[in-house]
């Protein structure tokens, strides 16, 4: 059925290699990205590395699974790690991160002016791009501290999943772009020769924006920009540095997906985008893959067998004690036993139904459903493999429930590392 079998992603060598310093987990929302990041972090730590996991917006249960009630902007050490390694976990607080940059780069008075500016307050509270920018900023900071030998980053659940690659340069280019300079010093621009066009555009623009947003708003922006003046070059430089850090050897991207059409479509898009940006892709983590210990029994045969057992199709709403399905033709009423009983016609079998019959038919129908799911998953995967046969894949077998503790994360780590088809 499978035409190409993609190479298996070897997770342990990746985690063990001391040259691996950053692992970025990216993928569509709802595919288990954060859980994957946490499981990888735990596994790497228990294999002896000193790891920090930077999560963006973890579910409360996931934080609790690491024994931390609430994650914050500072890495907290996770207890009860086996072995010599260490695991630290943190959650990005974008406002706090932005504030720290301001505090670090401006004198006290200027910093206060910025922090109190209403435009800054909205910007830092998380509008378009800020979260992505701050995630990359935090990654740069963690890397610069050099306290950990492995940093695992989860990426924000963005509007478009690759915003985190674009946002830094967008914010960076805004903050030291033409527009800001125009906002700040209209007179200067107007005075230059050959800038007539810009001048016209500019006055129209400040006029328009003023009208649109209201004078005070624009004034807030201008004050903010003036106060941030000294930091602008810095923003651009840092955005560029982080971007280069992502391209550097030592960084590995993992695209996380589930075997569903949309998630894999997004994963394919990621793979292409990472290649275009020359970002090093380690492979695809495919979560929630289903398997079956009885895969040699096809859905069709299972259904046919269920039918052959003659049990009613689907659970009987009246329960096991309810009326037996009546056959309009061929129903034999057995009077000899003194009680009325409807028997299945001799074809294919004529033994009476027992609880085991009904149960077995149910088991077979359940299995048919599972086999259909398996082939659906296989089809979506084949589509991805056909597009990107070179991408190594690690499959993680589906769990019935969510992860609640370190043991659960460890289990996912084992599944990740075994990488192959679940049984």
């Amino acid at each position: 059925m499978t035409l190409d079998v993609p190479p298996t992603l070897a997770v342990d060598p990746l985690l063990d290699d001391p040259k691996t310093r950053i692992i970025v987990c990216c993928g569509a929302g709802g595919v288990g990205k954060t859980t994957t990041a946490a499981a990888l972090g735990l596994r790497a730590a228990e294999r002896g590395r000193k790891v920090v996991v930077l999560t963006i917006d973890p579910a409360r249960r996931l934080a609790q699974s690491m024994g931390i009630d609430s994650l914050d902007n500072t890495p907290r050490r996770v207890k009860e790690i086996e072995g010599d390694g260490e695991l630290h976990a943190m959650m990005l607080d974008m406002k706090r991160t932005f504030d720290e940059i301001v505090e670090a780069h401006a004198d006290a008075e200027r910093a206060r002016a910025i922090l109190e500016n209403p435009f800054y307050q909205s910007l830092s509270a998380g509008f378009a791009g800020t979260q992505e920018y701050m995630a990359m900023e935090k990654l740069g900071q963690l890397r610069a501290r050099d306290e950990w030998d492995l940093i695992i980053v989860d990426t924000p659940p963005s509007r478009s999943a690759l915003d985190f690659l674009d946002a830094p340069s967008r914010l960076g280019s805004f903050l030291d772009g033409k527009f800001i300079r125009v906002l700040m010093a209209p007179a200067k621009v107007g005075g230059r020769a050959g800038m007539k066009f810009l001048n016209v555009g500019m006055s129209m623009m400040t006029g328009t924006l003023g009208k649109l947003l209201g004078g005070p708003f624009l004034k807030d922006v201008q004050t903010f920009v003036a106060a941030m003046d000294t930091m602008f070059g810095g923003f651009r430089t840092r955005a560029d540095a982080t971007y280069r850090l992502l391209q550097a050897p030592g960084t590995a991207f993992l695209v996380v997906a589930a075997p569903e059409r949309d998630a894999l479509r997004e994963a394919a898009y990621f793979v292409e985008r990472l290649a275009a940006d020359r970002m090093p892709l380690a492979g695809l983590v495919l979560n929630r893959v289903h398997g079956s210990g009885a895969a040699r029994l096809s859905a069709e045969r299972a259904l046919a067998a269920a039918e052959a057992l003659g049990a009613p199709d689907g659970p009987d709403p009246a329960g096991p004690d309810g009326p037996v399905e009546n056959h309009e033709t061929g129903g034999i009423v057995d009077q000899e036993g003194g009680k009325e009983e409807v028997r299945t016609p001799p074809e294919p079998h004529d033994s009476p139904e027992t609880p085991a019959t009904e149960l077995t038919a149910g088991l077979l129908r359940l299995h048919a459903e599972r086999m259909r799911l398996l082939s659906r998953e296989q089809r979506t995967r084949d589509r991805f493999t056909a597009l990107h046969p070179e991408v190594a894949v690690a499959e993680v077998a589906a769990l019935p429930g969510d992860v609640h503790d370190l043991a659960g994360l460890r289990d996912i780590g084992d599944r990740l590392a075994s990488g192959g088809r679940p049984v």
Partner: protein, 322 residues
């Protein structure tokens, strides 16, 4: 029934699908609905198997009984240029503004302006009337950002109104907020019967309520049919199951026989299934907590195609959602 129906949900729960099915369901008996997309992902076009939607209202489906579904992918940049043209006749200046980075600034970086433009356009469609004074659309269904961002997205107008204290953006923001916080609007949350989406849904409801936004319904997507009644009873022996499997023509029932080898894996699958069903029951109980109407949509095993959308629309209609 609210005329603006906002559909949100955790990523991966199928909120675009549910929004589309709802738009179809609401387009009964000659009614006309508009399905809007605000995140530039072209999810609606993919769903209805059409080419990418332009920034233009376009008929994409006809509902049973003659209703019509229109679709619009709102683009913040074009909405801003639209807006400049409409109020200031400045459409031509758009290019100059874009060259300067002003449009980019306004639609991606300036706090909240993007969201005001997106929600503003949707509210405009809600209020729009034709020459005879009838509403252009009976309902507007919005495929909104995910649960984690929905409150901020809808409430952003409040924040912007506070930030831009005068001027048209301020007025626009206030006008939009009046619609969003009124009974004209209803915010629905899509979830699955799994722990994380359910938790996020409950958190989302609390947040929306705290912000004074009207929460409508909980829509549980991808609900699978029941295949097995409860857990496997203890009384049934493995040998009996093997015998039944053999009787159904699946090989020998003796130890090592083909039918006998199937027993363990099949029982393992049944145990997993029972665990999942029990978990789903717990999630159902949790979803009952907020006291909102809860609707369940069936899982379409062959994936979502047009026929599937119509099926879901029928389910919604049967449950009295439209």
């Amino acid at each position: 029934m609210s005329r603006l129906q906002v559909v949100s949900g955790k990523g991966g729960t199928g909120k675009t699908t549910v929004a589309a099915a709802l738009a179809l369901a609401l387009a009964t008996e000659g009614k006309r609905t508009l399905l809007v997309e605000v995140e530039g992902r072209q999810g609606i076009a993919q769903l209805f198997e059409t080419e990418a939607l332009p920034y233009e209202e376009r008929k994409i489906a006809v509902a049973p009984g003659g209703g019509e579904v229109y679709a619009l992918a709102i683009d913040a940049e074009l909405a801003l240029l639209d807006y400049l043209q409409m109020f200031y006749r400045l459409g031509g200046a758009g290019r100059a503004l874009r060259k300067l980075g002003a449009i980019d600034f306004a639609t991606t970086i300036a706090p909240g302006v993007r969201d005001v433009l997106l929600t503003g356009k949707a509210c405009e469609a809600v209020r729009r009337k034709d020459k005879r004074g009838r509403y252009a659309y009976d309902y507007v269904v919005m495929d909104a950002p995910p649960t984690g961002r929905i409150t901020r997205f809808l409430n952003v107008n409040d924040e912007v109104a506070g930030l831009a204290k005068i001027g048209p953006i301020h007025n626009q923001a206030q006008a939009v907020m009046r619609v969003l916080k009124s009974a004209e609007t209803s915010v629905h949350l899509v979830t699955l019967l799994e722990e994380m989406p359910v938790q996020e849904t409950l958190d989302g409801i609390a947040e929306l309520r705290a912000a004074g936004l009207p929460v409508g319904r909980i829509l549980v997507n991808m609900v699978r049919p029941t295949l097995l009644d409860g857990p496997v009873p203890d009384g049934v022996k493995r040998t009996e199951i093997a015998r039944e499997l053999s009787r159904a023509g699946l090989g020998g029932a003796r130890k090592g026989g083909l039918a006998e080898q199937l027993v363990e894996p099949l029982l393992a699958q049944a145990a997993e299934y029972a665990e999942r069903i029990a978990l789903e029951q717990e999630q159902r109980a949790e979803l009952a907590e907020p006291g909102l109407p809860v609707h369940e949509l069936e899982f379409l095993s062959e994936g979502i195609d047009l026929a599937g959308l119509y099926r879901l629309a029928t389910t919604l209609r049967r449950q009295g959602v439209s």
